[in-house]
C-alpha cells in the first residue's frame, strides 16, 4: 500500500529545512507560499531526504478569490505519496494572471502539465522553457477552466 504522508508531517519536515515556507497546514494538506515553491520542491526531490522523485500530477483549481495548485508527488523508492498545495493570486487584480515558479527544472514531467494549466487556467509559470497554449490555439481569448469563463 502506498503510504500517504500527512500534511502535518510534511509541513514539519519542510519547516525544519526551510523556515517560513509553509503558510498553512492541517492533517491532510500543506500549503506552500508561492515564493518558496521552488526551494520546497528541491527539498522534496532530494534523494537523501524525502526522495519524492516522481511528480504524479499538477492540478489547478479556481477558488474565485485565489487559484490553487495541487502537486501530487510520489516516492517510488519508499512507496509513499504526498500532496503539496500552493495558493496564488496576482497582486491587485485577483482575476489576472498569477505567476508561480515553474518546476520543470526539478521534474521534467511538469512540462506539458504546466502548459496545460497555463492554457486552461491562466496561471503563468516563471521559468518554463516553452510556455505556449497547448490544447487551444494561439490567440484564443480567455482561459476556459476558470469559473468566470462563459463559453
Amino acid at each position: 500500500m502506498t503510504k500517504i504522508i500527512s500534511g502535518s508531517d510534511l509541513a514539519s519536515s519542510l519547516e525544519e529545512k526551510l523556515p517560513g515556507c509553509i503558510t498553512e497546514s492541517n492533517e491532510v494538506d500543506v500549503w506552500v507560499s508561492p515564493e518558496s515553491l521552488l526551494p520546497v520542491c528541491e527539498i522534496l526531490k532530494d534523494p537523501d531526504g524525502l526522495d519524492f522523485s516522481y511528480l504524479t500530477s499538477i492540478s489547478a483549481v479556481d477558488y474565485i478569490d485565489s487559484f490553487e495548485l495541487v502537486y501530487h508527488i510520489l516516492s517510488m523508492r519508499n512507496n509513499y505519496s504526498g500532496v503539496i498545495k500552493c495558493r496564488c493570486s496576482s497582486k491587485g487584480n485577483i482575476r489576472g494572471e498569477p505567476t508561480v515558479a515553474s518546476v520543470t527544472g526539478i521534474w521534467k514531467g511538469a512540462d506539458l502539465q504546466e502548459r496545460e494549466i497555463w492554457d486552461l487556467m491562466g496561471i503563468k509559470f516563471d521559468g518554463h522553457p516553452n510556455l505556449k497554449r497547448i490544447l487551444l490555439w494561439e490567440g484564443f481569448d480567455g482561459h476556459p477552466l476558470r469559473k468566470d469563463y462563459l463559453g
Binding site: 500530477s57 514531467g109 496545460e116 490544447l135
Partner: protein, 368 residues
C-alpha cells in the same frame, strides 16, 4: 564533403497522417533523414471534458470518461468511479469489485492488442498483425456487449458498483475466451517477437532510461519497459488486486522492443488475473445503495488506477453540490508524451514512427 550546402527540412507530420494514431501533429525538423528537432502539437480533439464535468452530476460524468481513452473505456470508468467513491465514501460490494476488475483487465488486453497491432502497422507490416490483433479484440468487445450493450463507449460502471450484473451467458463465453487467449498470444508472438526485421527495427531504438522515465513522469508499460518495477495494482492495490497473484513484467533497457514485449507479457498476466477472479467471485449485490444525485461532502479526492496506458487518475473537488466543483484528469497518454522530443532526437524518420507508436497514446485522452 565540404562545399555542399544542406538545409534542414521541416515537416508537419499530421494532423492527417496514417501513423499519428488520430489527429496529432508533430513538427519535425530533419537533416536529411535524421531528426534534429521535434515538437508535438495537439489539441485537435479538445472537447473540454474537464469543463463539461463541472456542469454534470456524478453519474452523467461516466459517459464523458468513456470518450477520453476510447480504447479503454472500462479503465476510465473505473478510475472515475473510484474517485467518486473515495470522495463520497461509498462502500462497493465485493461482487461488483470482481466484475470491475475482470472488465478492466479485459480492457487492458484489448488496449494492448491495439497498441501492438498498430506498432506493427507503423513498422510497415501492411496490417497483417493488426488484423490478427483485431480478431482477438473483437471477442473481448463481444463480451462487453453482453455486459452493457455497448462495445466502445461502455459507461458500465457507476459510483458504488456496476449498473447491471453480467448475464448468464457471459461467464461461459469468458471462460472460453480465457482458454483461447494464451494461444492467441503465442500465435501473435510467433509472428512478431522472433521476426528478424522487427528485431532489427526495434532493438536499441528509442531508448528511455529508468531515471529519464521517472523524471518525465512516464507511467504504465512505458515506465516498466525502462526497468522501473512500478505498478499501481501492486504498489497501491485497489479493488481486489491484493487478492490475486500476478507478476509485474519489466523491460531490460527501455527500447521500443521492450515496450512491445512488456505489453505482451502484461496481457498474459491479465489473463491470469481474470482466471483467479473467476475462481474467487461469489454471488451478491452488484451495486451499493446510492442515490442518483450523489452529493459528496465538500472536500477533495485523488484516486488513480493502472490503466492500459499508464496511471489514470482523477482529482476531484466537491463543494457539496450535485456536480463536482473541479474534475481534473491525470491523463497518462498526455503526460507520456513529455519525453517524446528527447527520445526522437538523432533517430531517423522510420524510427520516429515506431518510437511514437510504441508510447501508445490515444488522442481522445491527450486532448480530452
Amino acid at each position: 564533403m565540404t562545399g555542399i550546402r544542406t538545409e534542414p527540412i521541416t515537416i508537419n507530420l499530421g494532423p492527417q497522417h496514417p501513423s499519428t494514431h488520430g489527429v496529432f501533429r508533430l513538427r519535425v525538423t530533419f537533416d536529411g533523414e535524421e531528426i534534429i528537432d521535434a515538437e508535438p502539437v495537439f489539441g485537435y480533439l479538445h472537447r473540454g471534458t474537464e469543463k463539461l464535468a463541472e456542469t454534470r452530476n456524478y453519474v452523467q460524468i461516466v459517459t464523458l470518461t468513456d470518450r477520453m481513452d476510447y480504447l479503454a473505456s472500462m479503465s476510465n470508468n473505473l478510475a472515475y468511479v473510484r474517485t467518486v467513491e473515495k470522495l463520497a465514501d461509498i462502500e462497493v460490494p465485493e461482487r461488483a469489485q470482481y466484475i470491475r476488475v475482470i472488465s478492466a483487465e479485459l480492457q487492458r488486453i484489448a488496449s494492448h492488442l491495439m497498441a501492438t497491432g498498430f506498432l506493427l502497422n507503423d513498422l510497415g507490416a501492411l496490417a497483417t498483425p493488426l488484423v490478427y490483433c483485431f480478431r482477438e479484440r473483437e471477442r473481448i468487445l463481444d463480451l462487453f456487449e453482453m455486459l452493457c450493450g455497448a462495445r466502445i463507449t461502455l459507461s458500465y460502471m457507476r459510483p458504488g458498483g456496476v449498473f447491471q450484473d453480467a448475464p448468464e451467458d457471459f461467464w461461459p463465453s469468458l471462460d472460453s475466451l480465457i482458454g483461447d487467449l494464451p494461444h492467441y498470444f503465442d500465435e501473435l508472438e510467433s509472428l512478431i517477437t522472433s521476426n528478424e526485421i522487427v528485431l532489427a527495427r526495434t532493438k536499441n531504438v528509442g531508448l528511455l532510461t529508468d531515471e529519464q522515465a521517472i523524471d518525465n513522469s512516464m507511467s504504465g508499460p512505458n515506465l516498466r519497459a525502462s526497468g522501473v518495477k512500478w505498478d499501481l495494482r501492486k504498489a497501491d492495490p485497489y479493488e481486489i488486486y491484493d487478492r490475486v497473484k500476478f507478476e509485474v513484467p519489466i523491460g531490460a533497457i527501455g527500447d521500443t522492443f521492450d515496450r512491445y514485449l512488456v505489453r505482451i507479457l502484461e496481457m498474459r498476466e491479465s489473463v491470469k488475473i481474470i482466471e483467479q477472479c473467476l475462481e474467487q467471485i461469489e454471488s451478491g449485490p452488484i451495486r451499493a445503495n446510492t442515490p442518483f444525485f450523489i452529493r459528496p461532502p465538500a472536500g477533495e479526492a485523488y484516486a488513480a488506477v493502472e490503466g492500459p496506458k499508464g496511471e489514470l487518475g482523477f482529482y476531484m473537488v466537491s463543494d457539496g453540490g450535485v456536480a463536482p466543483y473541479r474534475c481534473k484528469v491525470r491523463a497518462p497518454s498526455f503526460i507520456n508524451l513529455t519525453p517524446l522530443r528527447d527520445m526522437l532526437k538523432g533517430w531517423k524518420m522510420g524510427d520516429l514512427i515506431i518510437i511514437f507508436g510504441s508510447i501508445d497514446i490515444v488522442l481522445g485522452e491527450v486532448d480530452r
